[in-house]
Symmetry: C2
Subunit: 636 residues, 2 copies
């Protein structure tokens, strides 16, 4: 068996989730996040910062045909009442994308939960959006309102192509859910303009913030139009060529400038390491994986593997977080994974899931599902408060509230989740990811159904109907029922990397981390993954974690909080031979607390300790009880 | 005995140093640093960045009486050929101070080593400086050249009063060394203008960067003129009053502004913690100690003690470094002493020595000498390369060169010393401190000679002539010979805080950390401080140092360097029961090296180790062999 199999795919419409754990979270998204955001986009929430998002679209629709209209500067990142006139565009340069991401989340949600009222609201916004589009297909309200002559003149810093990417993703999601083509047609018209504008003998530029690449690929798959694939390829192949387009567009020579931030330091096909802004990075790598698979581009495929290995072997937090420095929200150097300075943007882990999913569709290897699981159960879940009303952008592994308040180097580390509306990039990204989990459970090809994630669910496949009941988090028990089996096929079950012992009620063969079972007739299969708390060591190449360990149980990383363990978590030590006891959501372990030293410096003596019980809570649950210290790693 | 004794003082002119270790360093300053800096101030070094310092004075002298001269802006921190015309002031706003610090170092050096050529060079610069002074006494070349109407209008950000402070210190040093009054008279004229300008019913401002306070006090002691003491008191008492002067001078309300950076957040007499820019802080605290002693100001004295305790109990690195964050070059919150992000500016430790010296002159307590020793033998010495030609501004406790090059959060951490001329604040500060060590060895009052530092030296006192021979660093042996004893007195020997065992050949009584010996006649005293390598623990309230220890020997902190121990110093572990072996400058200890982990994350297992010998080098010697990893703390 060749592990590369370019016919693997997933289809969100064929899967329904029936899972107590996950449904409680996706219901929070459906009932709290999506409705709240609908109001926020129209500035209908008292006391919240204004979004201006829908207002910009309305403004653009009114102004777009007025040839005599005034022009305003397009030179800022954020346009506020303080720095521009009322008539100007308002908000961040990427404000349009919030509406698109919201529509994308709505689309996924409608597939799972038909809801006429929500559909009506989405169509209301779609009408407003489409009204703003120019006759030539252009659609970015900043430039339409402020100065359309300057469209596409600042690809490096502005986000027209980024907003376009989200428009496409929103349009496809809504079309798939409802069959309504209106937004999709609008997206295609903009895509056509982009194809006419960029390319050989045209503008040889590429997006400063990637996503158009993967969106164009998605649009190609949705419409079959090859020009979109070509445009995506062009953007990827042009990036990083000398002279740099970003220099050409400002008539400058690249003196001291480096384009690692935009992954534009060299051509993507020759890149080997994950560098620069982490979200931009994983969006680019996702598109590279798409295209290398579609076009059998071995160089691009090899770059994807090299970058993947660099991330997962040297730049990945135990929580699935990536991007360890706040400066540029970026990947740092190898093994630089500080706990208390981590950035680990929620969006970056979401993008890592996109990248992993695409890798898993090109190659049979359980590591991709493992990484998706690590990111999903930890950093992604951690991003949202238990009431669905507050969010983390940054997901640190160690928090001291005093440091966040008083140390400018840690100002990005928030000790409690923030209301989502202050700068709305991660919350809607969480909404769209959590509403589309159906996509990540199964993939299939002509002869195999792959079970990648163990969410209770039903798959309607060409091979059979598959019902999966999951007690994955409770006790590791999975039962699968195959009905309507209409032809023999393989069922491939991902064996989670964390699981040392498992049993499967049918004969199986392990290949590339999956247990392959031949299915010929309807049957029941039960799987038992031994799930128990365990101590995990981080490589001693990571300086901050020597002499420390983390507690995990299944895919879940746990952490210590001050509320449960008192302050000065650095004085706690876990017994390396501890038994673990699971009590509700907690894990209890044997440990000791070092008595506080009375002098700042003293001759070394063995420390004194009091025995104590350490109380661990799942990482994704931290910070729901007010500000307090938190630490994933504990001394051992 | 009351430990407070307001008659203790030191006198640099009565002490000569004869000490192999220290003379080799001060000779480096005399033969390398001072001559090099003489050339640098006049821009006579090929290939070096221009200083413009002497050029500014010359420019000011030519222009000062030209009423029709053009004006230039005074709104920048640094004036370069790129941002201002040729005729404007050039360099940093505090450029004048470099000349003054150089003259101060020359003065101290002349006291130790008469040198006619050096004296001639200093007088040459003094003539140039004095020519630039305005008739009213004003002397700051930025404002004289660019726009004198704006003098004293930006006390918060500009450095007129800072340059004035260094002018005074330089003038007093040179006057003491040579009896030449010219610069001292110039300083007094500027001081008189300042007394006329600031005060009740005058401008109620105070310096943004403190030092004028301690300089005015010094000038009061040198001249006996009470108005200088009053001006120093005024500056201290006015600081931090509401409304903030810094707001008044910009017609602004302090919205979101905080003046911790300038220690102006509240009146100094009510301050309890060390905050803000560390150098500014210790200069202010030094002046507070001076004035509280002179005026018996109990509130100010109590503030000094509270701030002192806060520094030494919660904000002091084992190396005597202070100021743990690069942001604002500032003190951080209690126990925030990161090794790899430390700022620990050389100047800040020099200022800490100033503060400690003043505290020791007001109160008999060996802790002040202990802190001077800690700072001097570690951070201060570390500031200069072994060839005297390169300097550290920042003195970290852990260095990974890759991090300095690739991680913007650690860009201030230089893995090797820099040529001193790029921004010349620490090198001349080192020069003046190292040239004036005579001041720190002895203090005396009517009945006691205190030996605070054990540098081989001769003291000419009113009590006797005291010869001290020192093998302090070699084996802890000190021999003291008292000659010409003309009246009974106490000899008080500081017992170093690091020393657990010592013997003294005469009867003594311990009080406040000093061994007091009654001396009636000429005699010899021998002292034996047991000096041996030891393991030191940092309080477990400091998060970065749990499960770690440092190696010290006497006052010296040691460290591991990659050149001696290989890379990945975090994999090294010292045996807590190790014997130590001293070989040349090295200390060898028993340890082990953890084998590198092959996976980023794995189930916890006991690590495997290879035994090895750890090779420690004195901290002040690190970084003299090219870029490499360094760490003070090691796992235990």
């Amino acid at each position: 068996m060749d592990s590369r199999d370019f016919s693997i795919h997933s289809d969100i419409k064929n899967v329904k989730i029936y899972d107590d754990f996950w449904n409680s979270i996706t219901e929070l998204v459906r009932k709290e996040v999506i409705p709240y955001q609908y109001l926020a986009l129209s500035d209908k929430i008292d006391g919240a910062e204004k979004s201006y998002c829908i207002e910009n679209f309305k403004k653009a629709a009114l102004l777009k045909n007025d040839k005599a209209r005034e022009k305003y500067p397009v030179d800022k990142w954020e346009y506020t009442d303080d720095n521009c006139p009322k008539e100007s565009f308002h908000g961040w340069v990427f404000q349009d994308s919030d509406a698109y991401k919201w529509i994308e989340a709505v689309g996924y949600s409608l597939i799972n939960h038909p809801d006429d009222e929500l559909k009506r609201k989405a169509k209301e916004y779609i009408d407003i959006i489409c009204d703003a589009q120019l006759d030539n297909g252009y659609l970015d309200t900043l430039y339409i309102i402020n100065d359309n002559d300057k469209a596409f003149t600042n690809l490096r810093d502005h986000h027209e192509l980024y907003c376009f990417g989200h428009l496409v993703e929103g349009a496809i999601s809504f079309f798939r859910a409802t069959g309504d083509r209106k937004l999709l047609d609008t997206a295609c018209r903009f895509a056509d303009l982009i194809c006419d504008t960029f390319g050989e003998n045209k503008i040889k530029g590429y997006p400063g913030h990637e996503i158009a690449e993967l969106a164009l690929f998605k649009l190609y798959k949705a419409t079959g139009r090859k020009e979109y694939l070509k445009a995506a390829e062009f953007f990827i192949n042009e990036r990083g060529k000398r002279p740099y387009y970003f220099d050409i567009e400002r008539n400058s020579h690249s003196i001291g400038e480096n384009y690692h931030y935009n992954q534009a330091h060299r051509e993507p096909r020759y890149q080997t390491d994950a560098v620069g802004h982490a979200v931009r990075g994983v969006y680019l790598y996702s598109a590279m994986a798409d295209i290398s698979k579609e076009t059998n581009d071995d160089e691009l495929n090899s770059a994807c593997h090299s970058i993947w290995d660099n991330i997962t072997e040297k730049k990945l937090y135990i929580t699935g977080g990536i991007g360890s420095t706040v400066d540029g929200e970026a990947f740092s150097y190898d093994y630089d994974l500080p706990n208390d300075l981590a950035y680990c943007e929620s969006c970056a882990s979401i993008g890592l899931i996109f990248f992993a999913q695409r890798m898993s569709e090109a190659e049979i290897n359980s590591q991709y599902g493992d990484v998706i699981e690590r990111a999903l159960y930890n950093t992604v879940l951690s991003g949202m408060a238990e009431d669905g009303k507050a969010f983390f952008y940054v997901n640190p592994l160690e928090v001291l509230p005093e440091a966040s308040h008083r140390d400018s180097r840690k100002r990005h580390i928030k000790p409690v989740r923030q209301k989502w509306f202050s700068c709305a990039c991660c919350p809607p990204n969480l909404a769209r990811l959590l509403s589309s989990l159906n996509e990540y459970i199964y993939t299939e090809n002509d002869n195999t159904i792959f079970v990648n994630q163990y969410l209770g669910s039903r798959l309607e496949s060409k091979h059979c109907q598959l019902n999966l009941k999951s007690q994955y988090l409770e006790n590791g028990n999975i039962s699968i029922k195959i009905d309507n089996c209409n032809r023999p096929f393989n069922l491939a079950l991902r064996i989670p990397q964390w699981c040392d012992n498992f049993s499967i009620s049918k004969e199986y063969q392990i290949k590339n981390g999956y247990a392959f079972i031949q299915i010929n007739v309807d049957c029941d299969i039960s799987i038992d993954f031994e799930i128990k708390p365990r101590l995990v060591k981080c490589s001693n190449r990571v300086r901050s974690n020597v002499d420390r360990a983390a507690v995990m149980r299944g895919p879940m990383v746990y952490c210590l909080e001050e509320k449960d363990n008192g302050s000065d978590l650095q004085m706690l030590v876990i017994d390396k031979n501890t038994d673990f006891k699971t009590v509700g959501e907690y894990i209890l372990a044997k440990g000791k607390r070092e008595l506080p030293d009375s002098n700042l410096y003293s001759n070394y003596m063995e420390s004194e300790y009091n025995n104590c019980t350490l109380k661990f809570i799942p990482y994704y649950r931290w910070g729901n009880r007010g500000e307090n210290e938190m630490s994933v790693y504990v001394r051992i």
